[in-house]
């Protein structure tokens, strides 16, 4: 049975542990062995915290033996994206800048994971400072897609998505600024959930764009994702943008039923650029939802088409300031042999940052300059308001929206190295959701060209639990999330 531990869900693992059918140390060791077996082909991890994972497991076993209360994630291995702080563990953010940096505090979500009894097994690979949607911008090599190791896993939470898809961990933490949880979830055939902005504390998440960033869960099914979400969500006084609301506790009925639920299909998200096979899978998903009793109608989000442009002004602007702290003065990389402070800054940042990061810092610095501020930054904020208002308007009529998560499936590694615009365009369906601060979940809805396709459901602000109920209902009558990627069957054990 132990060989198959990694095939179990978080809920099942927790149950086995709590009932004493398996020890936490056995779980930790089984998953560490799984990481070791799969990593050479996957490269999902930047740091594996084997020692502390076993240590945590021992403590859990002792707790259980002593009859102490066990948390809702007790015994469940979790991977954490490498831009979320775990006390005493190296945190690179996928950048040379922080290659050797050990952070001395826990992010709020990590604190909550630990309190819930989770076993943190490692830090996952990512595009540098979460800038990218293929994983190829990592300074430490690209994570592979378990469905085809010659293809990208999506990004920027590449390692978190790939490790869950490859059954290396049942749960992982990611961050989503413009699709960085949902898109890799779609491209690797798992569930990725971006909660409402403000639902999950950002304290301890290395900021990319503060007004867009949101931490969220990866899992193989909605039930597990909801379980992880309910632990990490809720008010945090350390994050001023954290909403003063209690942690949600999504509940699921005994039978899937979407009777009377109204879904909108924004036509702008199904237009030009969408792969025909992807479109076909979406149509099938719509039919499935209708079979469950849902009403589906077309609707319009006319300003979403400007979302991408607004996003690529707002994000670089905020990022250019957020990344200013990486200056070589207090921690991280510092250039050697410099004549003065100015040269130290220039050399440190030239050596420490990769191309995409430099590109966005330059764009951000430019759009905030006083002589063009109104033309770019201010205009982009106005567009953002219009994009959000579109959503508010359609949500007067609908309970949730249906879109593709990504207009295409995972593409081959290296294909778009010199084409940032095309890579940016891949996020066209996910970005407007961040601009509006709404919750959205990507669930597997079939295969196109032999690769996973994701269905994105977008919900109302702070109605995350309800949104997860819709996604859960869909998964109750579909099997796509149970299909194993080839990496697992090609001798993954």
């Amino acid at each position: 049975m132990h060989d198959a531990l990694y095939n179990l869900s978080a809920t099942e693992l927790n149950r086995l542990f709590v009932r004493g059918q398996v020890s936490a140390v056995e779980i930790a060791e089984a998953f560490l062995a799984r990481i070791e077996a799969v990593e050479p082909r996957l490269h999902a991890f930047l740091t594996v915290t084997a020692d502390s994972a076993v240590e945590t497991a021992r403590e859990l076993d002792a707790k259980r033996a002593a009859g102490e209360p066990l948390g809702p994630l007790a015994g469940v291995p979790v991977a954490v994206k490498d831009n979320v702080a775990v006390d005493g563990v190296r945190m690179t953010c996928g950048s040379k800048m922080l290659a050797e940096y050990v952070i001395p505090y826990d992010a709020t979500v990590v604190r909550r994971l630990k309190d819930a009894g989770a076993i943190i097994v490692g830090k996952t690979n990512m595009d540098e400072f979460a800038m990218g949607s293929s994983g190829e911008n990592s300074a430490f090599g690209t994570t592979r897609n378990p469905w085809d190791t010659a293809r990208v896993p999506g990004g920027s939470s590449s390692g978190s998505a790939a490790s869950v898809a490859a059954r290396v961990v049942p749960l992982a933490i990611g961050s989503d600024t413009g699709g960085s949880i949902r898109q890799p979830a779609a491209l690797t055939g798992i569930v990725g959930f971006k909660p409402t902005y403000g639902y999950v504390s950002r304290y301890g998440l290395a900021a990319l764009a503060s007004s867009l960033d949101q931490i969220g869960p990866f899992a193989r099914d909605v039930h597990d994702a909801a379980r992880l979400f309910s632990i990490i969500a809720g008010y945090d006084p350390l994050d001023s943008t954290s909403a003063d609301v209690p942690a949600p506790q999504p509940e699921f009925p005994s039978e899937p039923d979407l009777k009377g639920v109204r879904f909108g299909m924004p036509r702008e998200y199904f237009g030009e650029g969408i792969d025909a096979e992807v479109k076909a899978r979406l149509d099938e998903a719509v039919a499935t939802l209708q079979d469950l009793g849902a009403e589906v109608e077309e609707c319009s989000l006319p300003h979403s088409k400007y979302g991408l442009q607004a996003y690529y002004v707002i994000l670089p602007a905020e990022a250019s300031a957020n990344l200013a702290r990486f200056d070589g003065v207090r921690y991280g990389h510092r250039a050697k042999d410099v004549a003065d402070v100015a040269e130290m800054y220039v050399k440190t940042r030239t050596e420490g940052f990769g191309h995409e990061v430099k590109r966005r810092i330059m764009i951000g610095t430019y759009v905030l300059s006083s002589d063009v501020y109104d033309k770019y930054y201010k205009k982009a904020q106005q567009i953002r308001t219009l994009v959000a208002r579109d959503f508010d308007r359609v949500f007067e009529e609908f309970d949730a929206l249906i879109t593709p998560t990504s207009p295409e499936v995972a593409w081959p590694l290296g294909e778009r190295h010199d084409d940032p615009i095309r890579t940016y365009a891949a996020d066209v369906c996910t970005i407007p959701v961040n601009l509006a601060g709404l919750p959205a979940v990507s669930v597997p809805c079939g295969f196109a060209h032999g690769l996973p396709v994701g269905l994105q459901l977008v919900g109302k602000r702070f109605e995350d639990s309800r949104l997860l109920q819709f996604a859960w209902a869909y998964q109750q009558v579909t099997e796509f999330h149970k299909v194993q990627p080839p990496l697992n069957t090609e001798g993954g054990r």
Partner: protein
């Protein structure tokens, strides 16, 4: 104003708030701690750390605004001001931009000639301080390495910006002292310039007297005391006047004041001015400033210097200048009020005279601050009583006052111990007067010749003989009697 020129000055004053903790995190706000001990992920700008507004800092800036007669903005919103410097961990300062918390205020100053003037406050905003750089070497340029102490990084600062209403170094000095008083009265700051809790930048231009347009201004930085500021204004005004009278044009520049050399030096020109790329701080959403909070802060305001000045003038007839000197520090006002309470309102002017002349002179000589007033109101009241009932003379009283500083004893005890009681006994004084007249034929001859001031001289001798204890009126009367007797006998 010099030779037909008018100096125009506006000040930007940075004041550290007297909060327990820093403005965006829970680290202690204290001066003089071991370097880098009051630090955390937030004020060190570690990846992922986020700022949270210290509500006490918000209260204190509102308090400052109300005390400086400002309007209060009903929303607290913050911007990032972007620039790289090793003492600034985040690479941006969190400050306020288009909506400062306080605006449109003023400070009333009283000049030595008794006239008063209003200096308008344009705005007051809240921001964080940076850390402190220590350069190993003679100066920055020669330093082979630099060390940074981040204890100060994140300490709450308010920046107070005046309108260009100041016209001289004197006015600037009065303004800054008045501002210090107000901020100290209210507990907004401990305003210690020597600890850097109050720092000041000067915007200064000159123009021909009567001109309608302002001249081109320069900004002077690195001014560390009121005296330095006044000196810097005089120097800079003269520098600009020299340029213009020599046919040149003043360039808009940022200059640094070097007090050791008494000159300002160029820091950067307008062309090199940095673009700070201000944009709204996404980590701190704007928060409403509740009417309730403003009301609560308003109710907590103490009696402010202007109210004290009006009260001392109205209730006790003090001059505006004297009242404003007492009003400089809250401790002085408390001391004055207590002394008047004990000595009686009719003694208020006497209390003020003793406080402003004797007490301040002694404190000044001994370098005492307002927290170290060396004579109690009770001691002064006792002294005044002895003067009033004729027990001691005014001259003796000054000696007793000095003795009270060093002894903690009350006036009556000192007078008794030292035998300083005034002598009004006419018999003994008459004897002294007669003897002196007999012993000094020279002055007596002058008296005979009609020089009447000789009587004062003889009185002085009587005082000397009695070690100041003689009642001066009685002594004078008896001296004249003795002189007349003597002349009559001849």
């Amino acid at each position: 104003m010099t030779n037909g020129w008018e100096t125009v000055v506006g000040l930007e004053v940075h004041v550290e708030l007297a909060t327990e903790t820093k403005v965006w995190c829970g680290c202690k706000n204290e001066f003089g701690a071991e370097p880098n001990t009051n630090v955390c992920p937030v004020c060190l700008a570690l990846p992922g750390a986020l700022p949270v507004l210290n509500e006490r800092a918000l209260e204190l800036i509102i308090k400052a605004g109300l005390a400086l007669n400002c309007q209060i903005e009903r929303v607290a919103s913050f911007h990032r001001k972007n620039y790289f410097y090793p003492d600034l961990p985040t690479g941006y300062q969190i400050t306020q931009f288009d909506l400062p918390l306080c605006y449109d205020g003023y400070v009333e100053i009283t000049k030595a000639d008794g006239t008063s003037k209003r200096i308008r406050i344009e705005r007051i905003h809240l921001e964080n301080d940076a850390g402190k750089l220590l350069h190993a070497g003679d100066d920055v340029a020669a330093a082979h390495s630099s060390l940074v102490d981040f204890n100060r990084a994140g300490v709450p600062l308010i920046e107070i910006v005046t309108k260009p209403d100041i016209r001289s170094a004197e006015e600037a000095g009065l303004f800054l002292n008045k501002l210090r008083s107000i901020l100290k009265y209210t507990g907004v700051s401990d305003v210690k310039m020597e600890e850097g809790s109050l720092r000041c930048d000067i915007n200064i231009s000159v123009r021909p007297e009567g001109a309608a347009e302002y001249g081109t201004r320069c900004e002077l930085k690195n001014v560390n005391s009121v005296a330095h500021m006044m000196r810097a204004i005089e120097y800079e005004a003269a520098r600009q006047i020299d340029i213009i009278t020599a046919g040149g044009v003043v360039e808009q520049e940022t200059r640094s004041w070097r007090n050791d050399r008494g000159v300002s030096v160029l820091l950067r020109t307008k062309e090199d001015a940095e673009d700070y790329r201000y944009f709204p701080e996404p980590d701190l959403p704007p928060v409403a400033v509740a009417e309730e909070l403003v009301g609560k802060v308003r109710a907590s305001l103490p009696e402010l210097p202007d109210a004290v000045i009006e009260r001392l003038m109205g209730d006790y007839g003090l001059s505006r200048y004297d009242a404003s000197l007492i009003a400089t520090e809250r401790e002085y006002v408390t001391w004055f009020d207590e002394a008047v309470e004990l000595a009686g309102a009719e003694q208020a002017k006497a209390v003020a005279n003793w406080q402003l002349n004797e007490l301040f002179r002694i404190m000044n000589e001994r370098g005492f601050g307002p927290e170290q007033i060396p004579v109690t109101p009770n001691q002064l009241a006792g002294l005044l009583k002895l003067i009033q009932d004729g027990t001691i003379t005014g001259k003796i009283a000054k000696d007793v006052f000095e003795k009270m500083v060093d002894s903690d004893l009350d006036a009556a005890t000192i007078v008794k111990r030292e035998g300083l009681t005034q002598v009004s006994d006419e018999d003994s004084l008459r004897e002294i007067a007669r003897r002196l007249v007999a012993e000094n034929p020279g002055p007596v001859q002058q008296w005979i010749d009609g020089k009447e001031t000789v009587a004062q001289w003889f009185m002085g001798q009587v005082m000397k003989e009695t070690r100041g204890r003689a009642n001066p009126q009685v002594a004078l009367k008896l001296v004249i009697e003795a002189l007349n007797e003597h002349t009559a006998e001849r």
